[in-house]
Amino acid sequence: MEKVTIKIDGKDYQAEEGDTILKIAHKNGIKIPSLCFHPDAKARSNCRMCVVEIKGNKNLQTSCSTKVTEGMEIITDSGRIKRARKINLELIFSQHQEECDDCVSLDSCRLLKYQKEFGAEINKFPDRKKNRKIVQTGPIVFDWTKCIDCRLCADVCPVEFLEVENRGADIAIEASSDEKKECINCGQCIVHCPVGAIEAEGEFEEIEKPLADKSKTVIIQFAPAIRSSIGEEFGMEAGSIVTDQMVAGMKKLGFSKVFDTSVAADFTTYEEAQELLERVKTGKNLPAFSSCCPAWVKFLEFYYPEFIHNLCTSRSPQIMMGGILKTYWAKENNVDPKDIIVVSVMPCTAKKFEVKREEMKLENGCFPVDYVLTTREMARLFKKHNIDLKNIEPEKADNPFGDPSGAGVIYGASGGVFESAFRTAYFMATGKNMENVDVKEIRGLEGIKIKELKLGDTILKVAVVSGIKNAQKMLEELKKNPSAFHAMEVMACPGGCIGGGGQPIPNTPEIRKKRAQALYQVDAEKKMRLAHENPSVLEAYEKHFTDKEIIHKVLHTSYQQRKKSEVKELKSSRGD
């Protein structure tokens, strides 16, 4: 790319031809407001907040979509620009029904930030969308009374479930009524909405519920990807590791036990590695697909049921943990499984759907997990109880499920699940551990990574995919060439769970990179980096998971072709 020199507010900057003004400005710390722009989507340029003056142009131009050219002279702040932004912001406010007290975006609300900056009147015009619908499908609630028609949600929805309807002022984003389209609950719409119009079910109302029943043993577990993201909710830099601070906070809230889902990930690894080896050996059901991402699983069940048999039957870590707690742990500790409540803190909204799947039910009639809180909900619960992760004495998670291998921690990043399984499969296949356990070639935020890995005498061809659109490409590829690879790891969200729909907002490529790096850092610093060396895992297999039947009942599952779910109309976003 050609280098060009441009002038912003009188100062020279170097830029690459083809970069947008907004990109160069942000790179150089020059603030330009924007609502409809997100680095994950193409510029829509419809909110008209990022307008700037460009010498030679009669009217203001949007910086999100205007590419720089040699010698371009840009002014980012002037009375004219301020006036335009203020008026457009007031028009945007007139679409958005304010309910700030229970808004997912409250702490990161750009509307309010700009409102102060430009002195905009929130109620200059009456809210015109008061009577728009609020609908729910699965665990996702769409509150169209808050929508500002920026369309980011529709742009990032990987299954095109959100559709733009009508014209002019009647324009509306709608949940598709097409029988062939189904929401996979990934929640990417939530983390991309600039105004908090979309949230997960119970995002505010249910967070206290799990703690209400004092007669029960209430156990909380937290997913691998939470530890490097929840700090952001407390003003910390993305990628800050706050595992022990979070544990301390959970204990302070009164949970009986705090366990780490990464330990359950070690169980998943143990099972999945065996499945992989078995399939490679017999040549059956190849390629093997990872099964811990519930949005991916639902996507496959609805859109590509012909591939269901490729999914590993190993349950996801949170479900395994719940099952282990309500069977093995309950027995060991003499607790009636019916008196155990398991709460999961997940970076994910699809996990709220996963726990309700009938096929997850244990033999004793219990569902493995009772409540799922997203990272955002957990942070909200902390804040509600004045727990600040920045100022808390760290504590360790409880035994026996408090100390994961490094492999269990990297589950939160795209490539981590397969890397963990590979480390263990290598041991199972060759009888010895890898000399260097890092499988760096499958790390990183790239959406599709196809690599060949040596497993003893076998060359294993693997695809590591994040983003459902990318997964779809690979499935189409597999239709043409069914033996294109042996295994495929898929995470529905960009970069894996670190970019999940339950994660703090904002959720940008830069932030995701930091969250992922932190997980690999934890792994690198661990002595125990292999799932099959985790003593908690080994002990459980020795004591309880001794035969195939019991393993299958608690640690494995089945899948089913799915029909479209109902899109329910709610009276208000509070679900009543």
């Binding site: 907040m49 004219r80 008026i87 028009l91 945007i92 028609d149 002022a169």
Partner: protein, 322 residues
């Protein structure tokens, strides 16, 4: 002499309203790499008071087809679309099909409304997408219909291309005259003629107090009796309003109702701004400050020419008339 040079020498500008030098578009399409090139005749003519494209279709369809033929000869491996508003399509289809039999010319019935006359929206509509404008660049001349270099010119422009090719062009244009006048209709005069002269030449100069809207019946600018030395801009319409007879608020409502129905809803100033102007006009006391604010963002920040078009009549009307 090559036709592009002739168009340049003739100083022909687009007759759709924007007044862009026609030769520049032709040259851009000519030079743009592409295995195929498209030529689009924009006969969407959707604004109140603009009638000239229909006039040409009625009276000079041969000239139009000849203009398209010139374009087809100019661009290698090219194909043309004649894109017509619904009633024009229905009325002139058989005639045009007959005239264009031996050329690769496709007639298209406009599926949407006024906004489909905006060139990138027009392209989206032919491709079967939502009727919304595209971001520019890339301009249609580089990446237009189906990603190929595309020439979009107004229907009247093709008429004059035909005249230029035959050396019969003398800087004339068509004027649509309507409103409170005695002899409404479409007239041909030099493009240098002042509004006053045109009104007088056609025996339409009002005796009573009046003002005019020039360009188009929605996006046209407002001029008073003292400003008639100006030439006609935009799509060549002159609409005369009898000052005594005209209810200013009703006129503003007429404009805004048009834009309310025709805007696509993509950008904030147009979608929300037009909605709010409509709301303001329904109040007994018109909040002028709010109205001016919205007109300001429409002019400065709307995505496509439609939004800027909303601002145009209001800018002159507020102050001069209201």
């Amino acid at each position: 002499m090559n036709i592009i040079q002739k168009i340049k020498d003739a100083k022909l500008t687009g007759r759709g309203g924007a007044g862009f030098p026609t030769w520049q578009k032709w040259e851009a399409v000519k030079n743009a790499p592409g295995e195929k090139k498209y030529i689009i005749v924009n006969g969407s003519e959707g604004e109140p008071g603009v009638l000239k494209d229909g006039f040409i279709l009625e009276n000079y369809p041969e000239e139009l087809i000849n203009g398209v033929k010139v374009a087809l000869e100019t661009f290698e491996n090219s194909e043309a679309y004649i894109y017509l508003r619904k009633d024009y399509y229905d009325k002139y289809k058989s005639k045009l099909v007959e005239l264009s039999r031996d050329f690769s010319i496709t007639l298209t019935r406009e599926p949407g409304g006024y906004l489909c006359g905006e060139e990138s929206t027009l392209i989206e509509s032919i491709e079967g997408n939502r009727f919304e404008p595209r971001d520019k660049p890339p301009f249609p001349t580089e990446k237009g219909l189906f990603g190929m270099p595309t020439l979009v010119n107004n229907l009247e422009t093709f008429y004059w291309i035909s005249k230029i090719a035959k050396d019969e062009y003398h800087s004339n244009r068509f004027y649509s005259l309507s409103g409170d006048i005695a002899n409404p209709g479409v007239f041909e005069f030099s493009e240098d003629l002042s509004i006053e002269k045109i009104l007088k030449e056609t025996n339409n100069f009002p005796e009573k107090e009046f003002f005019v809207q020039v360009g188009g019946g929605a996006s046209g600018i407002i001029l008073t009796r003292e400003e008639l030395e100006n030439k006609v801009t935009g799509a060549g319409a002159i609409i005369v309003y009898d000052k005594e007879k005209t209810d200013p608020k009703a006129l503003m409502k007429k404009w805004i109702d048009f834009y309310f129905n025709e805007n696509c809803g993509k950008c904030v100033p147009c979608r929300e701004g037009v909605y709010r102007i409509k709301e303001l006009l329904e109040n007994d006391n018109l909040d002028l400050e709010k109205l001016k604010d919205i007109v300001f963002v429409l002019e400065e920040t709307s995505f496509c020419p439609l939004g800027k078009g909303v601002a145009m009549p209001f800018e002159g009307f507020l102050g001069k008339i209201y």
